[in-house]
């Protein structure tokens, strides 16, 4: 399969990338690692007339803690996140999400920014970013703006980025003491999209849950925040009964459809099971010390 013809650009500065976007607008598409976009183009599900490759634009591969956040440049590769000692130690949920994106060879080129901007509800990072309450930083002709991940994810393959904006950084708030995160995915085989997956983040105050983030992958038109389940957890001890009830509420928040990966009710049951696992894992990390 060969993609339809297009004009290719590899701008070497952000201003050049932005002027190309302004010039070609809706006819153009930004490319990060290309690991989702190129397959879509081969299947003719995407056929941009102008392809703007971001790989030579400097400044998009930051990976550091700064001003209370982990700052991840949009072009940071999945493989880099997976192997970063900083991310492994402090943000295990992000590592667990990266580790289940496609397969190890794809992850050598796939990027976090591409995964998020593609806004596929089956992608793994959007839910983790919801649980971690990340902020997206975008640059456009009117300057820079921050967008909460809740506002960033609009619908299937749709974000709130304007056609002339570029996602440049992802800011993940640094975990408060006694916090833990986890991402638990159920897939039929390596490299497949999730039947369902659950991202969890908890901050403990003694044995009581002080803050919680919970979000779901591939059980709705976009990655979903399980708001009622999060709310229910606040101020409670994370015992079996509490976790069971949070899992039930997370199941109710899912909007699955029946397809080759299973009937809707089955997927809802998977969400309940994975919510309990993700919460236990996150809570264990929160009370284990470092994370």
């Amino acid at each position: 399969m060969i993609p339809p013809p297009f004009q290719y650009y590899a701008p070497t500065s952000m201003s050049e990338a932005l002027s190309l976007l302004q010039q070609h607008g809706a006819e153009s598409k930004l490319m990060a690692g290309g690991q989702s976009l190129i397959p879509l183009m081969k299947l003719r599900l995407a056929s941009p007339n102008h392809l703007i490759d971001l790989q030579k634009v400097p400044g998009l591969t930051t990976l550091e803690e700064r001003d209370g956040a982990l700052v991840i440049g949009a072009m940071v590769r999945e493989a880099t996140l997976e192997h970063s000692p900083l991310v492994r130690q402090r943000y295990p949920g992000i590592v667990e999400a990266s580790e289940v994106v496609a397969d190890p060879v794809v992850r050598n080129f796939a990027t976090l920014g591409g995964n998020l901007a593609h806004a596929d509800p089956a992608n793994d990072h959007p839910a983790m970013m919801l649980a971690l309450r990340a902020q997206m930083v975008a640059i456009g002709p009117r300057g820079q703006r921050r967008i909460s991940v809740d506002d960033f994810l609009v619908d299937t393959f749709e974000t709130s980025l304007a056609p002339d904006e570029v996602l440049v950084e992802i800011h993940v708030p640094q975990p408060a003491p006694h916090s833990g995160s986890a991402y638990v995915k159920f897939e039929r085989k390596v490299g497949d999209y999730a039947v369902a997956a659950v991202a969890a983040q908890v901050t403990m105050n003694g044995d009581v849950c002080a803050q919680a983030g919970l979000a779901l992958t591939n059980v709705g038109p976009r990655s979903l925040r399980a708001g009622a389940a999060q709310q229910f957890l606040i101020g409670k001890r994370l015992d079996d009964q509490t976790i069971r009830e949070a899992a039930r509420l997370a199941g109710d928040a899912a909007e699955p459809t029946s397809d080759l990966r299973g009937p809707a009710e089955y997927k809802r049951a998977v969400v309940r099971a994975l919510t309990a696992r993700a919460l236990r894992k996150a809570a264990q990390r929160a009370t284990g010390g470092a994370n």
Binding site: G34, Q35, G191
Partner: protein, 164 residues
């Protein structure tokens, strides 16, 4: 049309190509190196895996123009001066292939793994090849082949095999 120069197995190949030309087609049809296979053509099977500046990538899911200027290694570049690379020796001795279709990708992923992690566990080998499908062997002998190559590469003097 765009001018693309790729160094494949140490030799420069240049051509005027359409931007939509996939890397695997550049390798097979411009450079005439057909050891790199096209299997699924959907980023699933890994038969088209090559090393780009030393890192494994699926060449059916990259544009040639996207890696313009890169150093590419394909299966043809493994043998040096008539000597099989240890990874090739490993597949040969441990019966790491039957039909051979997945073998180029498997060997390049294995080589990249061993360069990064000279003494991988079985779990690490299985994880490294999890993006490469084999429909013949059931993977057992592929894992043995990569493990055996690792041993050869750790003790180059014992086998006389080159480590490059």
């Amino acid at each position: 049309m765009t001018h693309v120069t790729l160094t494949i197995n140490g030799e420069a190949h240049q051509a005027e190509v359409e931007p939509r030309l996939l890397l695997v087609h550049f390798i097979r049809e411009v450079a005439n190196l057909t050891g790199t296979h096209i299997g699924c053509d959907t980023t699933s099977c890994g038969a088209c895996t090559v090393l780009i500046n030393g890192t494994p990538a699926k060449s059916c899911t990259l544009l040639a123009v996207q890696v313009n200027g890169a150093e590419i290694q394909t299966v043809e570049g493994l043998e040096q001066n008539g000597q099989l690379h240890p990874i090739q020796q490993g597949f040969f001795e441990e019966h790491g292939l039957q039909c051979g279709f997945c073998t180029p990708g498997m060997m390049l992923v294995g080589k990249a793994l061993l360069e990064q992690n000279p003494n991988p566990s079985e779990a690490e080998i299985r994880r490294a090849i999890s993006g490469n499908l084999c429909r013949c062997t059931g993977y057992v002998n592929i894992v043995k082949a990569i493990d055996s190559a690792g041993k050869k590469m750790r003790e180059p003097a014992a086998t006389g095999a080159p480590t490059a």
